[in-house]
Symmetry: C2
Subunit: 246 residues, 2 copies
Amino acid sequence: MSTLSPDQLEARLREIGATRYHRQHPFHKMLHGGECTKGQVQAWALNRYYYQAMIPVKDASLIARCSDSDVRREWRSRLVDHDGEKKSEGGIARWLKLTDGLQLNRDYVASYRGLLPSTRFAVDAYVNFVRDRTLLEAIASSLTELFSPQIISERIEGMLKHYDFVTAETLAYFSQRPPQAERDSRFALDYVKTRAVTPEAQQGVLLALQFKCDVLWAMLDALYHAYVIPGHIPPGAFAPEEKDQR
Amino acid sequence: MSTLSPDQLEARLREIGATRYHRQHPFHKMLHGGECTKGQVQAWALNRYYYQAMIPVKDASLIARCSDSDVRREWRSRLVDHDGEKKSEGGIARWLKLTDGLQLNRDYVASYRGLLPSTRFAVDAYVNFVRDRTLLEAIASSLTELFSPQIISERIEGMLKHYDFVTAETLAYFSQRPPQAERDSRFALDYVKTRAVTPEAQQGVLLALQFKCDVLWAMLDALYHAYVIPGHIPPGAFAPEEKDQR
């Protein structure tokens, strides 16, 4: 194992994104290709809400273990992005506009009662990873944002075109995210390129991104299994209404 | 919410088992019904190995937080069951006999390299649950063993009957487990019936068993998704050889 140059490290990270980021997942393709029923879109939004809701928790746990004031200040903007300055603002509030628009009851969504257990296990694995691994690995695991502007533009365009139950207003979450993700991922990429200067640290960074891709992939696996294969919704999980299954 | 009698609590626990234990899962039915390919049986054994391997870790973490010597001594027998007195003994070693018998490379199995990410997330969620929740909840989460003798007998009978690549010797793990599971689950059931005497504690016990059922169920969901639906194996996970897919 030899040390990669910063640009070689970036190239390896982008390679992981190209092969393992969930843009390649069959469920993503169904979603933006207009092949989902309303019930499947509801299930996706409901489950993904848990991910959105835990993001500031994992970001705060990252800040909590960081001894560098500059990094903490930079990372704090993520808390603002997701929790907002007021209750009605921020990424979580905008995600609830999406679930509202899909006619999901807000209390039900926020209660997590209908979640697939696998969604919870995958998201919790991410939160625990950020809490338990090195700061460098924790930061590297956020690098899926390098690839999110593209998936988001596919999603907005595809969903608006194909689903009459989706409007630009309900997709407000996504129109806000790309500039935030670009700013955040630029910072994180610079950080890992500057700080990961041994083969071991670079290996840690690559595996952290791979782990995070696995998390996002596993979330879509669970959705596909439960909501695309008839009769496979696990006991207790959200079941779309009859009319939304067509 | 009112307090249940100990026998009412037991009845509620058995109800959870009847509806949520993975005996009802389509993949279990395929497995013991002879409908799996050899590759699917390999994938099951490989992924389940991670569960087996982590069981003594979760049991040790339970013992580590228990201030009652009697409970610790009782629980210690589980470490012996799984890790054995010698390297060649115990449940983990017997599970490797099964993966050997299925022609899986032992180093590959033990490396966890081929695991489905969802298997790891589900099993780690169980280990974390036992480490982080109350001792009562940790003990209650082991109560799926109340239902395991039945599933094991179905599995042994079904697998021996249907698969020529499975022998009584490779299934040695299962022939040892039922008396251990009966002894262990009797202890755990007595413990929760005696100690869970408030509505809150009883609710915690019921949710702990439900959580554990979700873990086992999610493991089979992941196997079904990856190995029954063609083309859905996640990046990097075990891929059966061509000849074992038929």
